[in-house]
Amino acid sequence: MSGAAFRYARAADPAAAVTLGAAPGAAFLAGGTDLLQLWKAGVQAPAQVVDISRLPLATVAAEADGLKLGALARLHDVAAHPDVARDYPLVAEAILASASGQVRHMASVGGNLLQRTRCVYFRGGEGLACNKRAPGSGCGALEGENRQHALFGGSAACVATHASDLAVALVALDAEVEVLSAAGSRRLPLAELYRQPGEAPERDTTLAPGELIAAVQVADAARFAGRSTYLKVRDRASFEFAVVSVAAALVVAGGRIAEARLAAGGVGTVPWRLDAAEAALVGQPVGPDAFAAAGAAATEGAQPLAHNGFKVELLRRAVVRALETVGGQA
C-alpha cells in the first residue's frame, strides 16, 4: 500500500519549518519511522510534509546543568553517547529497549516522543471505530480487543496507550521540552506536553499547529546514575512495544530513600508518572517493605478492561522488580 499524494518541502531553517508547519494538514518529517507507517496505512494523510531532517537540531550534550538532546538527534546516537551512558543510563537503557537497531539509527528524539499510539483500532484504518483517528467514530477497543490498552488516563472516548519508552524515562527524570513556533520559543515539562484523551483523543499533545520540538532538556540527574533502571516486559525478546515498562531511579542516603522517580509505560494514555508510588518510598528505609508499598501504590486507581486486567498485577510486580534492581545495598 502507498498513501495519498502530498506536497513536500524541505525546511531551510527552524523558522521556515514552523512557518510551513503551521499550514493546515502539515506534518513534520524527521526520521520518518512512524509517519511513513501511518501514511502508508492511510491513517494519516498530510497535505504538506515538512522535511526537518536536515535542520541543525541534533546536538547531544551533557553539561554541568544537565543533558540537552536536540530533537533531531538519532536514538542510536543518544544511547551510544558516552556521557549519556555514564550519567543518564536510564535514558540509554530505555532507548536500547526500543525498536530495532535499524529503526534506532533512523528515529529522532522528537519523533519518538510524538509517535502515535500503537492501538490496533487507530492503526487499522477506516472501518474500525477510533475517535483518535476519526473523531466521533467511537472507540472499538473499549468493548473490543483491549489487551494492549491503558489502565490509567482513559476516557469513554479513548483508552489507547502511549508507546514511547524514551518518554517514560524522560518523564521520570522531569525532562522539559523546548518548543519553537512563529511566536518564539517556550519551555514546558515533558509531562505537560502530553494530554489525556478526555473528549478530544485526536489531540495527543498540547502543541499548537506548527509548534516544533527543538530540544529536550534533562536537569542534572547524575545522582541517580548508580541506581536507575528501565525494565521492559514485552511479548517477545526484542523489537516489540512494552506490555508494561517501568523507569525507576533512586537516591539513597543513610539507608533511607532520599529521592525516588518512577514512571510506567504500556499502562497509561500518556507516559505515566507513578507519584503515589514515589511518595510511598521517600523517607523509607531501602528494602522490601518500601518496595512492596510502592508496588501497591503504583496500581491505585487502575481501571482494567476486559483483556488487560493482568497488567495491574504485572505493573505491581514490575515496580517491585525495578526497585529491587536499583535498591542494592543500603
Binding site: V120, A129, G140, R236, L314, R321
Partner: protein
C-alpha cells in the same frame, strides 16, 4: 549426498533471481483490489465514476466480467455478489501506476446491503456440523470402544486445548504478471502449483491447457498459502490484462495476506486419554471443533495424529466445523499435526507426571510398531532412535528435578514431545539432457519453494552421471517443462526425485551403450555393467580403461542425449510411510514478570534418506522457528464488532525475532527405508510439529503450570 549450498544461493543473495512479481513486461499495468468493508452482505451496486476520474485509471473488472468465467469453487467468490468476509475483493482496478490503481480502488463507491455477521467461533456453536472429510482422511473414526475403555482406565487425563488462528506469511507476498498473446495467456505467479494453476485457468477461462503457460522460477516461501485461494484474484488480473491488451501485475499487500490467501484454522480440542496401570494407552477420545468460512469448507486432520501415533486399541476421533464470516482456512505448515500434537503431546506429558514415569519412557511404552489405523506395517520407523539420540544430545536423563533449576531470575524447565508427519507422494515427470559438450540439464515443472529442490535434483543428476555440480543446470517452475506435483505435504522431493533419477539412469544407460559399442573407445567390448560414471569419466570398474565423458559425447552424440521419465506412486500400498522426530526444549521463565525464553532446542529426526544434510537441517530449523512462533507469538485477531482483522501487519502479528531463537541442535537419524522409492521421506513439515507441546511441557516443568492454549503469553505465566 553432500551438504552442498543451494545452487541458486548466489543469485538470491545478489538479488539476481527474478521472482514472479519482478518479471519485466512492456506496457505493464498495475492492479489494486476493491475490498468489502463489511463481513457479511450483498453487493447491490458498484459505482466507478470517481475511480475513472483518477489520473492513470485504465479499467475496472468486477462481477459482470467474472461471470464470463466457468462456475466453480475457484470462481464463486468473484462471480457471486455475496460478501462472506471483511476485505473480500469486489472488483479489481488497473491503472498506469501502483499508486493510481490504489487511489482509484479506494474511490470506487460500493452500495452494500449489510447483514449480521458471525465474527467468532463461539457465536455459532449451536450450528457446528460434522464434515465428511478432514483433509484427505475421514473426519470421524472409531476403533474399538474408547468410551468404555476410558471409563474403566487406571488413569484418565482429560483436557481442552485451544490453538489460535495463524497466518502463513511467506516473506514474498503473492503476485501475478499476466500476459496474453491472443487467446494464449502466460502468468508469472508465485504459486506452489504451476500445473494446478494451469488446470484452474484452463477450466475457468475454458482454454486448452496447452495454450496456457504458468511460470514460477523462484518462490520466497509459501507454507501452504500459495495455492487455490489465490486463484480468484489472479483471475481478475488475467481478465483485466485480456481486456486491456496489455500485461497486468497484481501484487498483494502484507495486510491482504491476512484475509485473501488462507490461514491456519482456530481449534478447540477435547482430548481424553485412558491408561492402564502399566502406562499403556487403553483409550483415546479426540474431538476437534474448528472454524471454517461461510463460503468454503476446510478442516485440518487435527485429531488424525491420535489414530496412529501411539499403540491403542480403542480410539475415537471427530471433527466439527463452525462457519464464520472470517477468511477461509487452508493447510499451513504441518497442517493438523501441529495443533493435534500440541493437544496429544501435552496430555501425554501430564499422564507421565501422574503415572510417575519419565515422559520419554511413557512414549516408548506406547510405541506403535505398526499403523493401527491403516492396519499396515510402517515402511520404516525411526522414532525410538529419535528418542534415544535426542535425549542423549539434550542431556535429558541428567536434567534437574521439576522447578529446581534456576539461572538468575529465570526458572528453567525441560520438556519433550514427539513430531511426526505422514509421507505423501504424487505422480511426477522429469527430463534429463546432456549436451555434446557434457553440460547436464535437469528439467521438472514443479517449482522450488525456496527449500532446495533445485539443489537436490542437481546433486542427484551430477552423481548419476559423474559430472561436477558446476556443469549442471536445473530448470524448474514452468508448465512448459515435464509435469510434477504441487509443493505441499512435504512431498516434492520424494515425488520428483524418482522420476529425475530414472531419467538420469536412462541417459547413463544410453551413454554406456555408446561407449561399449564404439571401437574408438577404450571401453569397447566391455559389459555395460562394468562401467561407472565418476569424476567426469566413463571408466571400467574392474580395469584401467577410461575416457572422459565429453570425448565420448563429442564422438558419438555431438547433439547430446536426453531422456524423460515418470514415476507414479502405487494406487495402494501395503505399508504406511511416516517421518518422525523427538523434540527436546529448555525454557527459562521469569514467573514474576511472565517472560518466557526458549533457551535450547535439540531435535532428532528420522525421515528416510537425507539428500543434503545442510538443506535438511535448514528445513528443520525453519520449521522449529515456525513452531516457536505458533507456541509463543502468532495469533490473528478478528474484531468481533466488525469482522475485520486487527493488527494486520508485522508490527502486531508477532513472529519470533532472532532474540527469540535459541541455538538449534539438529540430529539427522540415519534411516534406511526399503519400501519408499529412493528411501526418501518428506521433511518440510516435521519441524513445525511437536515443538509447541515440548515448550508447553517445559513451562510445566519450570513453574508447575499447564497452559493448554496457544500462544502462551505473559498473562498465562504470571
Amino acid at each position: 549426498m553432500s551438504a552442498d549450498l543451494r545452487i541458486e544461493a548466489a543469485l538470491k543473495v545478489a538479488g539476481r533471481a527474478v521472482f514472479p512479481a519482478e518479471t519485466p513486461a512492456t506496457g505493464l499495468l498495475y492492479a489494486a483490489l476493491v475490498e468489502a468493508p463489511v463481513a457479511s452482505g450483498e453487493l447491490r451496486a458498484l459505482d466507478p465514476t470517481a475511480a475513472r476520474a483518477v489520473p492513470g485509471f485504465v479499467d475496472i473488472v468486477g462481477h459482470a466480467e467474472a461471470e464470463g468465467l466457468k462456475a466453480s469453487s475457484n470462481t464463486a467468490l468473484i462471480r457471486e455478489r455475496t460478501i462472506h468476509f471483511a476485505g473480500q475483493p469486489l472488483a479489481l482496478v488497473v491503472a498506469e501506476s501502483p499508486g493510481a490503481a490504489e487511489q482509484a480502488a479506494r474511490a470506487v463507491r460500493l452500495e452494500i446491503e449489510a447483514r449480521p455477521a458471525v465474527t467468532a467461533l463461539d457465536q455459532a456453536l449451536d450450528q457446528a456440523y460434522a464434515p465428511k472429510l478432514a483433509g484427505r482422511v475421514p473426519a470421524e473414526t472409531r476403533r474399538g470402544d474408547a468410551a468404555t475403555a476410558i471409563a474403566g482406565a487406571h488413569l484418565v487425563v482429560r483436557g481442552r486445548y485451544e490453538t489460535a488462528v495463524n497466518n502463513h506469511h511467506p516473506m514474498e507476498p503473492h503476485a501475478a504478471v499476466c500476459v496474453w498473446e491472443g487467446e494464449r495467456p502466460t502468468v508469472h505467479t508465485n504459486t506452489q502449483a504451476v500445473f494446478g494453476t494451469r488446470a484452474a485457468i484452463a477450466h475457468a477461462f475454458q482454454l486448452p491447457a496447452d495454450d496456457i503457460r504458468v511460470v514460477a522460477r523462484y518462490l520466497g516461501g509459501g507454507f501452504g498459502c500459495k495455492g487455490p485461494l489465490w486463484w480468484p484474484w489472479m483471475f481478475l488480473a488475467m481478465i483485466a490484462a485480456r481486456r486491456a491488451g496489455r500485461p497486468v501485475r497484481l501484487e498483494l499487500s502484507r495486510a491482504q495476506l491476512f484475509t485473501l490467501v488462507g490461514r491456519r484454522q482456530e481449534t478447540v480440542q477435547e482430548l481424553a486419554l485412558g491408561f492402564g496401570a502399566d502406562g499403556r494407552l487403553v483409550g483415546i477420545e479426540h474431538d476437534v471443533l474448528a472454524q471454517t468460512s461461510t463460503h468454503g469448507e476446510y478442516v485440518d486432520a487435527t485429531a488424525a495424529v491420535s489414530r496412529w501415533l501411539y499403540a491403542c486399541p480403542n480410539v475415537s476421533t471427530t471433527h466439527r466445523l463452525v462457519r464464520t464470516n472470517e477468511p477461509q482456512p487452508i493447510p499451513m505448515r504441518a497442517p493438523g499435526v501441529a495443533p493435534g500434537t500440541f493437544a496429544l503431546e501435552s496430555a501425554l506429558d501430564e499422564a507421565a507426571e501422574r503415572l510417575g514415569l519419565d515422559p520419554v519412557e511413557l512414549r516408548v511404552r506406547n510405541f506403535a510398531d505398526r499403523d493401527q489405523q491403516a492396519d499396515k506395517p510402517w515402511s520404516s520407523n525411526g522414532l525410538l532412535e529419535c528418542y534415544r539420540v535426542g535425549a542423549e544430545r539434550f542431556g535429558w536423563a541428567g536434567r534437574p528435578a521439576p522447578g529446581a533449576a534456576r539461572d538468575g531470575r529465570w526458572r528453567l524447565g525441560s520438556g519433550m514431545a514427539t513430531a511426526c508427519y505422514p509421507v505423501h507422494r504424487q505422480p511426477a515427470s522429469a527430463r534429463v539432457r546432456i549436451s555434446g559438450e557434457g553440460a547436464l540439464t535437469v528439467q521438472c515443472g514443479t517449482q522450488d519453494m525456496g527449500s532446495g529442490t533445485y539443489t537436490v535434483l542437481g546433486q542427484m543428476a551430477a552423481a548419476q552421471l559423474g559430472v561436477a555440480m558446476a556443469d549442471v543446470t536445473v530448470e524448474l517452475g514452468d508448465t512448459w517443462l515435464p509435469e510434477g506435483p504441487y509443493s505441499g505435504g512435504s512431498m516434492v522431493t520424494l515425488s520428483i526425485l524418482p522420476a529425475a533419477e530414472a531419467a538420469a539412469r536412462q541417459v547413463r544407460a544410453q551413454l554406456a551403450e555408446l561407449a561399449v559399442t564404439d571401437e574408438a573407445s577404450p571401453l569397447a567390448g566391455l559389459p555395460v555393467e562394468d562401467l561407472e560414471f565418476a569424476d567426469g569419466l566413463v571408466r571400467s570398474r574392474s580395469g584401467n580403461a577410461a575416457e572422459p565423458l565429453v570425448d565420448l559425447l563429442r564422438r558419438r552424440a555431438p547433439a547430446g542425449l536426453e531422456a524423460e521419465a515418470s514415476a507414479t506412486p502405487p494406487e495402494a500400498s501395503d505399508v504406511s510411510g511416516m517421518g518422525y522426530g523427538a523434540v527436546f526444549v529448555e525454557v527459562g521463565i521469569d514467573p514474576d514478570l511472565g517472560e518466557l525464553r526458549v533457551r535450547r532446542v535439540t531435535a532428532a529426526y528420522a525421515a528416510g534418506r537425507i539428500l543434503n544434510p545442510l538443506l535438511a537441517k535448514s528445513q528443520h530449523v525453519g520449521g522449529l522457528i515456525g513452531g516457536i512462533g505458533m507456541a509463543l507469538h502468532e495469533r490473528t485477531v478478528t474484531d468481533r464488532a466488525t469482522g475485520r482483522i486487527l493488527g494486520d501487519g508485522f508490527a502486531d502479528y508477532l513472529i519470533p525475532v532472532h532474540a527469540d531463537m535459541p541455538e538449534f541442535d539438529i540430529a539427522l537419524v540415519d534411516e534406511h527405508d526399503p519400501h519408499l522409492p529412493g528411501g526418501v521421506k518428506g521433511i518440510g513439515m516435521l519441524g513445525s510439529a511437536g515443538v509447541q507441546a515440548a515448550i508447553a511441557n517445559a513451562v510445566h516443568d519450570a513453574i508447575g503450570r499447564r497452559v493448554r492454549h496457544l500462544p502462551i503469553r505473559i498473562e498465562d505465566l504470571l
